[in-house]
Subunit: 185 residues, 2 copies
């Protein structure tokens, strides 16, 4: 992060990073598969935490609720490092290659959540959709949180996003059914 801040991501070579850490380029590639991966260290741990939280959700709760409470449980983690999260976010959104990596990490999280939901007895398609919808809420909520000038909590933004999604889906369902009834038959 120091180096990226100094010269920018593109102008920082892997050799630079390794040197700053007192190592060789070759050794860098033993720890990270990629130049990009250096910004995503510990992501497996993050996935594990979220998945465990999903698994820990009460059986009675609906799939989406399980996913969202798991998302909310990451709040403490992020709340402590909002400044860092902001800088990291800015860096990533400034570089397409980094966004790509972030997106695939998100999808691997989605897959992991989907699997966990299936083990809870959710059907395959519903599990996928609950995972994806949950992460869509997370993305939107996280974004609002990161750019919130009033520094309100992540949980608050997640709940707001969730209500928005409900409104969007339910609203569409109502008018969609009406249109359908009108249109067919």
């Amino acid at each position: 992060m120091e180096l990226f801040a100094e010269r920018g991501y593109g102008k920082t070579t892997v050799e630079d990073i390794a040197a700053r850490a007192g190592l060789t380029e070759r050794t860098f590639f033993r720890y990270f598969t990629d130049k990009r991966e250096v910004l995503f260290a510990g992501s497996e741990l993050f996935v594990k935490q979220v998945v465990d939280a999903v698994r820990a959700a009460p059986r009675s709760s609906a799939a989406l609720d399980a996913v969202l409470s798991a998302c909310e449980s990451t709040g403490d983690f992020f709340e402590e490092r909002r400044p860092f999260a902001r800088r990291r976010n800015a860096l990533i959104s400034a570089h397409a290659e980094l966004q790509e990596r972030e997106l695939i990490k998100m999808m691997s999280l989605a897959s992991a959540i989907t699997e966990t939901l299936k083990q809870r007895g959710t059907s395959s398609a519903a599990a996928s959709l609950a995972a994806e919808a949950g992460l869509a809420i997370f993305r939107v909520g996280f974004d609002q949180w990161a750019r919130d000038p009033r520094d309100r909590s992540l949980v608050l933004h997640l709940r707001a996003a969730r209500r928005q999604l409900e409104a969007v889906v339910v609203g569409a369902r109502k008018s969609g059914l009406r249109a359908h009834t009108r249109g067919s038959s």
Copy 2:
């Protein structure tokens, strides 16, 4: 695609591709910014079609309906080339770097849709969520479509996915509200 089928994506160099097209590596990079981009040629056109379809949706329809009818309008396009779509899909899901590219294309589509919805008067957060929810439905539906041994239509799979999402969100809302009533106050 020929070359990728013959030797695999990883073992096909850009020089190979250029040679097969009767050109030089250097020229390849004038047409494509990337080796990966060769598999996503014309994606801007696709985005344009979907965005136009969203824009063309009646004002009265809800945001999510606008997005979904736009997704359905791509059905004809894909239906004609299901075998190609399947091979391309298999190739992409076998290579993480290609998945990354596909994901970022999806997100750029989501952003474009979000913008269009905002112009229709949808609020920013609702627009994001309608776009993301719509694309989640598209991803799940498309996946089912591509792997459907009975070759049923894309539209059918999209509608099914949509009903699943409704169930997931509405189901969660009901039990979530119940839990909330029980839990707080």
